[in-house]
Point group: C2
Chain length 269, copies 2
Amino acid sequence: MPDHPFDAAIALAPAADGLFDGATHPAWANMVGPFGGVTAATLLNAVCRHPQRLGEPLSLTVNFAGPIAEGPFRIAATPVRTNRSTQHWSIMLQQGDEVATTATAVFALRRDAWSSSERGAPQAPPADRVAVQAPPAFVTWPGRYEMRFVAGAWPDFDKGTPQDDSCTAMWVRDEPPRPLDALALTAICDVFYPRVFRRIARFAPAGTVSITTFFHADAIALAAQGARPVLAQARAQRFVSGFHDQIADVWGDDGSLLASSHQIVYYKA
Amino acid sequence: MPDHPFDAAIALAPAADGLFDGATHPAWANMVGPFGGVTAATLLNAVCRHPQRLGEPLSLTVNFAGPIAEGPFRIAATPVRTNRSTQHWSIMLQQGDEVATTATAVFALRRDAWSSSERGAPQAPPADRVAVQAPPAFVTWPGRYEMRFVAGAWPDFDKGTPQDDSCTAMWVRDEPPRPLDALALTAICDVFYPRVFRRIARFAPAGTVSITTFFHADAIALAAQGARPVLAQARAQRFVSGFHDQIADVWGDDGSLLASSHQIVYYKA
């Protein structure tokens, strides 16, 4: 078992062809089942470890079809189509006969091309000037991150006031520190508490239904970030009929956009 | 065969259990294969027509794994898991033995809940004050839309100048007019020419690799929009190593956000 709690949580044992065995990890427990970000990273890890993998992650969509119970699970990763520079994957996580999570991923060989960053990082003081906020006590997984909130910290559910905007921005890194890679970045894209908590200033049942992440940085760029905090920002656009979207973007401390992510969230309020 | 070219293009004949037969439609031809938006709508239509479908579209991810050749195709739509208020689908389009497109979708039963629109429509003159721009001649499908550009119209590839921003905004509707529904909205989310064209002011090989759309409006809200133009806006955040993202949002003429969509685009420049 790897030492770091993130690597321990996403660890997989190859079984038969394209099948991988894993298990939930108590350090990553959410209200129900594990933190979705670590489930997404585990699904991506199945492709990363598959002997037929080509290139690096370009996009990942994870659909949380049902709760994951504490205990073992099996992931099937299938290369549906391999082209010259892209490879398309279908991924499924099951517990017994029940499908808990489905996913698709695109891996790609990147190459030199015209490039431009149109969206720079938001204004924020450097990470070491922002205080670390202790995670709330009612759930386990936030303790796996060091969060330094620039805006939109965890709401005080007892005496908070509803906010007009859903925006959160934070410097964040794994706790204990761990060098950044696409797997850790996948989880960080989901590191935000549900935006509805901030808007209504009270707890409500809520959970990700589907999340898609686009990776803008390759392995070399992510390695250059090392274990230093990244700047992550999230906001919602519309809350309606029990579902809201959540857009999350993550920048390196050099200001480059590393990943952008979008999820649709179930809520009851 | 339905009269309207959109309905003709997405038409499917049910075959065996969960299988549907369709064919490309010449009116929707793109540079290679059909317009991706109509392919996405056709995949969604397979779920809409499936006898086990529960509720309405909430999210759709379509991965363009390979080109679709002119001619027939077969779609397999599988309900992977059905919960009380959400249903998860796996969808695949094949031509012969070759997988051309994969998709996942979530359908949902919406219900009354606390609601808020955090992102209003951008400033734009009313549709009838904006001139219609004729589509470019080098590709067929744009003729299936009436486009009234507020910003970022089709670039002049012969004498255009590179632009600092990738933003396009337009009033757009099907041509001929057709009442809006989730299928037409799916296609409209992909109605923008690749953002790289605008930035470099010349043509470049480019195509969607993966697109995810979140539906914020239900069938009743979409029906209320009728066949009137919707306001659609797109922009990219980062172009790097031959891939760029593209964010598209679509508002009704009452200012409500109907759908938000995100795609990752391959380009060679």
